[in-house]
């Protein structure tokens, strides 16, 4: 079995988000980058499925050389090898196209990624790759079982879940529940240095979307405190002042 896992390089979740160049660029100064937490879940499940010599896991990232430490982290967690498509990812369409083009060169049984990236909050790549490859894509899964030919997946829906079964190649985007994120072991960190990280040039494609500017949310007014012993007043305020109940 061969599994391809898409890894996104994102700012650490504790990052205070600021912008430069007249609010057109994310300010990366002093920012720690990590493997997108959802991608880590996908990677962890892929490693579990391949345990005991049942298969191999390849991590793929679209990025310039600055993302190499994040890819090495994926190798330390347990990916067998990695590939970096050498380009600054413009948008999800571009990224998905690169991943799909690479996937065509290897005979992958499944492709996994995270439900969304925590930077641009796009949840687009999985379904786009699925469409480029003309294979099923199942978005936002909470469970993934695989028995050599057929995958059984649980997909999140509003107020519940849906069980989906797929035979043949597919791509799925993983959410919490699919696997516990694995923490790299010392041995994993040592071996990550020598595992293969192949660099592949990007394929050009017409641009369809670009971010022109970032905005930060308007600050809220001062908090209105209600004394604990008069908690009932809150209900009145929500009804007559905030008009939300």
């Amino acid at each position: 079995m061969k599994i391809l896992v898409c890894i996104s390089n994102v700012p650490d979740t504790t990052t205070k988000i600021t912008f430069t160049n007249d609010n057109t660029q994310f300010n990366t100064s002093g920012v720690q980058f990590i493997v997108n937490p959802y991608d880590e879940i996908a990677l962890s499940r892929a490693i579990e499925l391949c345990e005991g010599g049942k298969g191999t896991v390849t991590a793929i990232n679209v990025g310039d050389s600055s993302t190499d430490p994040t890819i090495r982290k994926a190798l330390a967690i347990g990916a067998d090898d990695a590939v970096r498509i050498n380009a600054v990812p413009r948008d999800a369409y571009f990224t998905a196209y690169q991943i799909a083009e690479y996937a065509k060169t290897g005979d992958f049984d499944m492709i996994l990624c995270g439900r969304e990236s925590i930077d641009y909050n796009g949840a687009q790549v999985a379904a786009m790759v699925g469409e480029f490859l003309d294979i099923p894509s199942i978005s936002i899964i909470k469970k993934l079982d695989y028995d050599e030919t057929t995958a059984t997946l649980e997909r999140e829906i509003e107020g519940g879940k849906e069980v989906v079964s797929v035979t043949g190649k597919f791509i799925a985007s993983c959410a919490e529940g699919v696997a516990e994120p694995k923490i790299p072991t010392m041995r994993g960190i040592m071996s990550a240095r020598t595992k293969s990280l192949q660099v592949v040039e990007a394929v050009e494609i017409a641009e369809v979307a670009k971010v022109v500017k970032f905005e930060t949310p308007a600050p809220r007014g001062a908090v209105k405190q209600v004394p604990a012993e008069e908690a009932a007043k809150l209900i009145d305020l929500l009804h007559t002042e905030a008009k939300v109940i």
């Binding site: 979740t13 504790t14 641009y120 107020g159 970032f214 007014g221 405190q225």
Partner: protein, 323 residues
């Protein structure tokens, strides 16, 4: 040129987020000086289809086929793209729901279109540029995204735009596109939906609790408060990690992002990752015994106090309020 909106249904009924998408699409169609067509897939009755006219659709394409009664994004994307071609639509709108997230990207690729997912405002069309504002960095920022392609796809965040009725009547047209069997290789085996619970992403009111509740058996009062309000329940990450509550209730940067009209946070300190997922809520109430809890800095209303004393008082007041 026209605008096409896909309206999601469950058990033959459209959801509020679907009517929001129609209202939003109607405003875009008006701005572009064109008309709006809606498409419904699955078994929906005529009177329900007519509802879409109230929000501005002048035509409703009704795709009613047993093959398509369950949502399979691959097949639905093909049907919607075929409808877009038939209607000469260059803008496709849908909800950024769980299903919408799996559908919009496939439509975008088929149409060679740029996609904005998680749109929070109407598009701006100044200087010949078509830009849409969307959530980014998990609610810590917005990204104004320009769609430079001819065709455009926008997935609207639930509860971001609201519904707007516009006097109008829709004609209903049956639409029977051919469905390729290769589009139906993913098979829906089972759908489990808790019908007695309000779904969190769609909820207008949310009651959320954190570690301050001390133990899972203390959630009774949270659920009672939520029931009285008609609110959905949510929780913080440590609570879902500990298995006190299901992952589907976890809101925050690595859970789901929500933007209800009212978010009540009980016993949640307000870590930056949690705030990210809820900061676009319209009104935030924070109940915490620690007056220094960072959550108070972004709250509209605050009560410094013990949840076990405050929440029962709120429940009592709500019962009195409801008479």
């Amino acid at each position: 040129m026209s605008v096409l909106v896909y309206v999601e249904q469950a058990d033959g009924k459209f959801k509020k987020s679907g009517f929001e998408a129609v209202s939003y699409a109607k405003a875009i169609a008006d701005g572009q000086g064109t008309h709006l067509t809606a498409i419904s897939i699955g078994n929906v009755g005529d009177s329900e289809l007519k509802e879409l006219g109230k929000y501005g659709a002048s035509k409703v394409l009704n795709v009613s086929s047993d093959q398509l009664k369950n949502f399979v994004n691959q097949a639905y994307a093909s049907v919607i793209v075929e409808a877009a071609a038939k209607e000469n639509a260059d803008i496709v709108i849908l909800s950024n729901s769980f299903s919408g997230k799996g559908l919009a990207p496939r439509i975008a690729v088929k149409l060679k279109a740029g996609l904005v997912d998680g749109a929070v405002e109407l598009p701006q069309t100044t200087d010949g540029k078509f830009t849409v504002k969307k959530n980014a960095f998990s609610g810590k920022a917005f990204a104004v995204t320009e769609l430079t392609s001819v065709n455009k796809v926008i997935a609207l965040n639930p509860n971001a735009f609201g519904t707007k009725e516009s006097a109008g009547d829709a004609t209903i047209e049956n639409f029977t596109p051919e469905v390729k069997t290769t589009d139906l290789t993913a098979i829906v085996k089972e759908i489990v939906r808790a019908t007695d619970k309000i779904s969190l992403p769609d909820a207008e009111l949310v009651v959320s609790a954190g570690r301050g509740l001390k133990a899972p058996e203390n959630w009774g009062m949270i659920e009672e408060l939520a029931n009285l309000l008609g609110a959905a329940t949510a929780c913080s990450k440590p609570v879902s990690d500990a298995g006190w509550r299901p992952h589907s209730e976890h809101v925050g940067q690595t859970g789901i992002a929500i933007s209800p009209n009212l978010y009540i946070a009980i016993g949640i300190s307000g870590a930056i990752q949690h705030l990210a997922g809820v900061s676009s809520s319209k009104v935030i109430v924070v109940i915490n015994k620690d007056p220094e809890a960072p959550f108070f800095k972004v709250a509209d209303y605050g009560i410094v106090g013990d949840a076990f004393e405050v929440v029962p008082k709120l429940i009592e007041a709500l019962k009195a309020h409801k008479g």
